[in-house]
């Protein structure tokens, strides 16, 4: 059986793949958005110049259907109508043949606002100055989980640690900016574009247009990482309105600066921990509170919140826990999906907190973590038993031996504090729940796949999951070909086009392999049984929830995810003590993703995910300025790793087949982003002998921490006399 396909990505490598900006359309017009320049206020008047012939303008008044995009809840207007909630919100779409004329016309538009006091931070959101932006209290969503008895847990504590750990915004910086083209074909309004979830775009278009003569086709997509989950809707909504009316092809492709400034970002988060440790050095209680800055519209924040809450204790078995998470509305760019979806934030914060407690207790961080690991007998944070075998200890063993972690950790602890260069090594342990949260695969998504076999015995896969670089189309073909015992060349996959593919759900949440791949495997098995030589055959298969999977979406009880993947990262650094430049000398990633289907493809995910996470921890600074917009405006300001900034990643796997995944596979695409930031920071902490409680840890941050008062952030309260030995 073939396992490699030399033609895979051949068009891309030869420069022949037609991304959306590469495509030719006869009579193509260009579209440009006029965006709000006011963070918060009411629109009093919109003044537009006289338009030359062939130029058109679209606004909320032109929406034939409903001017609210149904992302999760229908709150984000296609065009701002009465109010604006952030700088960059779309108010108008200008359309015409010449981009230069469009740019000029944009400068002649003016909007009069009645401004209100904006809220950019969670604290400002809570303060409700000039009233609430959203509902009565600016609170988009809030949940709480209680496990065990938090008060009884703290009663056993001899020491309590309080710490706040925060993570910043992160920009996807997919190399291809967002873009779509709309046109009319066969009386349907068609949108083609760079996107992860064509059926999401379909539903948004049908809402704004009020009809279903629509069609959505994915173009080759130059990276997504979650960033092309919600934002293509924001482009396609207004664009569909214009195309529906003009019946001419129109293209909207964002400029890089526009993309950085206004598309969705990773949620910044602030975790507050209060952790009780008993006289044996064991954590007996954890009280966790965190706030998410969701930006101006709810978008995907509810699901990010759910993931951050249900995985808040990461891979640790803590008897008594209370977690309260809240998502707040602010007058900033809406935050959305980014690889990991709340988990990179959670994993960084808890791993850092665990490291800092260990330091305070005079224990080695790894040993301290090992003393708290989940085991096969554990009950999860959400009250479920562990399904399948946990191999976290194998992951740790493999990582420690590959990296020589213990020996290096000891050697670097003994290095001179006066050296011009100082080394450090750090380790992180983490998890990622695969698929939609809880049992939403069953109650909400209800994925469906189709296989077609033609008279020439050629099989075609029809699914709505998109290849945005992660190599999905090859892995899908491999699953079906292996099941049918066919050569790879006999299995094709259809372009994702809502006219032909069923809705197998969005390309998000590390669900494509474990959920959709498994349904495909089932469909291929069914086809194999019914195979009739020379006949055209069609097989449809629906998702079925495994019987062990129980979930209560109201109380967050049960299996928080259908399956969970695990990983361990080790990062080794060397810090120049004069400039505080950090060189990442080595990085190891060891993973349990069940059984890997195509190791080379997954290795690409390990490399890419870990390098993004190293960027997240070390250099990717994105901050709001006083006007509620990002201070970093271009690729020169927002820095991501280059080939010189990162080492070769040393990768390994522990095989642990999952019975409800294709060939035993679980999800893995997001997992790879969850751990490296924390391992990096732990390494820098060892090197410079200071704790950090926020990322990114840039040379400036190190310099500040070492030269100013060190931020003794973790607060230690000894309560031995009060509660112990009674």
């Amino acid at each position: 059986m073939d396992t490699v396909d030399a033609r895979f990505k051949w068009l891309e490598a030869n420069g022949e793949a037609q991304y959306i900006a590469d495509r030719h359309y006869d009579g193509l017009l260009e579209g440009r958005f006029y965006r709000s320049t006011c963070s918060r206020g009411y629109i009093k008047a919109v003044n537009v110049p006289e338009l030359p012939d062939g130029y058109y303008l679209f606004s909320a008044k032109d929406v034939p259907g409903t001017n609210r995009l149904p992302i999760v809840v229908p709150d984000w207007p296609a065009f701002a109508d009465t109010e604006v909630r952030y700088i960059g919100q779309v108010i108008l779409l200008l359309v015409g043949p010449d981009p230069l004329v469009l740019e000029q016309l944009l400068t002649q538009v003016s909007v009069e606002y009645e401004p209100l006091t904006p809220a950019y931070t969670v604290a400002q959101s809570k303060a409700l100055v000039d009233g609430a932006i959203h509902n009565q209290d600016n609170l988009f969503d809030a949940h709480q989980i209680d496990k065990g008895d938090i008060e009884a847990g703290f009663a056993q504590a001899v020491t309590i640690f309080e710490e706040t750990v925060t993570t910043g915004y992160q920009e996807h910086l997919y190399l291809e900016t967002q873009g779509c083209v709309g046109y009319v074909a066969d009386s349907k309004v068609v949108i083609e574009g760079s996107m992860q979830c064509p059926w999401y775009v379909y539903h948004c278009m049908s809402t704004v247009l009020g009809h279903q003569h629509i069609r959505v086709i994915q173009a080759p997509t130059g990276g997504g990482f979650g960033g092309k989950e919600d934002y293509p809707n924001i482009i396609a909504g207004p664009l569909a309105v214009a195309v529906n009316q003009l019946r001419q092809p129109i293209r909207v492709v964002l400029e890089r600066r526009e993309d950085i400034a206004f598309t969705s970002k990773r949620h910044p988060v602030e975790f507050h921990y209060r952790t009780g440790v008993d006289k044996h050095g064991q954590i007996v209680a954890m009280d966790i509170k965190f706030d998410l800055n969701s930006g101006a519209y709810f978008s995907l924040s509810g699901i990010v919140l759910q993931r951050a809450i249900t995985t808040a204790t990461n891979v640790y078995d803590i008897a008594n826990v209370r977690i309260q998470g809240q998502a707040w509305c602010t007058n900033t760019v809406p935050t959305g999906a980014f690889r990991g979806f709340g988990s990179p934030q959670t994993c960084f914060c808890i791993e850092s907190h665990m490291n800092h407690i260990a330091q305070q207790l005079g224990q080695a961080p790894l040993a301290f973590k090992q003393a708290h690991l989940l085991t096969n007998q554990s009950t999860t944070l959400t009250g479920a038993s562990i399904f399948g075998e946990l191999v976290i200890t194998d992951l740790i063993e493999q990582s420690v031996s590959a990296s020589q972690y213990l020996a290096k950790r000891a050697a670097y602890a003994a290095q001179s504090s006066q050296g011009a260069y100082r080394k450090g090594i750090g380790i992180s342990i983490f998890q990622h729940g695969c698929g939609f949260a809880g049992d939403l695969e069953d109650t909400l998504v209800k994925a469906k796949v189709r296989l077609i076999k033609d008279q020439n015995e050629q099989v075609t896969i029809l699914v709505s999951n998109t290849d945005i670089g992660q190599g999905l189309v090859l892995t899908f073909r491999q699953i079906v070909a292996d099941t049918l015992a066919l050569p790879l060349s006999q299995v094709d996959i259809s372009v994702v086009d809502t006219d032909s593919v069923p809705d197998s759900g969005p390309t998000v949440a590390s669900r494509s392999i474990v959920i959709v791949g498994y349904i495909l495997e089932q469909a291929a098995l069914a086809l194999k049984q019914q195979w009739q030589v020379g006949e055209y055959q069609e097989i449809e298969q629906d998702y079925q929830k495994p019987s062990y999977h129980q979930w209560d979406q109201i109380n967050y009880q049960g299996n928080a995810y259908q399956s969970t993947s695990y990983g361990v990262n080790v990062v080794e650094v060397e810090v120049d003590m004069a400039s505080y430049e950090v060189k990442i000398n080595d990085a190891w990633g060891c993973y349990d993703i069940g059984h890997v289907i195509n190791e080379q493809i997954f290795n690409g995910q390990i490399d890419g995910g870990m390098v993004q996470a190293l960027g997240y921890g070390a250099m990717e600074k994105l901050e709001l300025n006083g006007e509620g917009v990002f201070a970093q405006k271009s690729m020169a300001d927002y820095m991501v790793p280059t080939s010189l900034d990162v080492p070769r990643i040393q990768r390994s796997l522990v095989d642990n087949p999952y019975p409800y995944g294709p060939q035993g596979a679980k999800g893995g695409g997001e997992l790879t982003h969850n751990g490296a930031a924390s391992a990096f920071v732990a390494a820098v902490e060892q090197a410079v002998g200071q704790a950090f409680n926020r990322i990114p840890v840039t040379p400036e941050v190190i310099a500040q921490t070492l030269t100013n008062e060190p931020q003794a952030n973790i607060k230690r309260i000894d309560v031995a006399e009060v509660t112990n030995e009674n």
Binding site: F8, D22, T642
Partner: protein
């Protein structure tokens, strides 16, 4: 303004604003879309082309400065044995994920191998450092350089 240059070994003349970039000229006026626009301000390398054999960001170069020079894009390079050697190596190494950086990467690898037929890891990483890739974490693209060096032995 009429500007003449050599494009992929063929003489060509375009009549455009002299300040228009080479990238825009290639993509819009010449219909060559292998060179991508990732930032349009010289930061990402997606628009990489060769001008007189040197790797340049086509988004920074006004077309007037190209007058009389030799421009090679991936459309030209992929027709050559060396070009195909690099492309095949990149595919074999699985150094293409979303593919948006790939045309620029192919050109950067080609220039590297022309200069260093047996490059070290550091030479490869330095040669690629002007080309951003957000998907691969670079190692597999680095591997492609070694594969192309080995498989293309005698070519370089």
């Amino acid at each position: 303004m009429k500007i003449e240059f050599t494009l992929n070994q063929q003489p060509i003349a375009v009549d455009v604003d002299p300040m228009q970039t080479l990238l825009m000229t290639l993509r819009q006026d010449c219909g060559l879309t292998a060179s991508k626009e990732g930032c349009n301000e010289g930061e990402c390398g997606a628009c990489s082309v060769l001008v007189n054999g040197q790797l340049v960001n086509a988004c920074l170069l006004p077309i007037a400065q190209v007058s009389g020079n030799h421009v090679q894009t991936l459309e030209g390079l992929r027709q050559t044995e060396k070009g195909q050697c690099v492309i095949n190596a990149l595919l074999e190494a699985k150094g293409v994920q979303c593919g948006f950086c790939s045309p620029g990467m192919v050109l950067a690898l080609y220039v590297l191998l022309e200069q260093h037929p047996q490059p070290t890891e550091q030479q490869v990483r330095t040669a690629l450092s002007g080309n951003l890739c957000r998907c691969t974490g670079y190692s597999m693209i680095v591997d492609a350089a070694f594969i192309a060096a080995t498989k293309g032995a005698g070519l370089w």
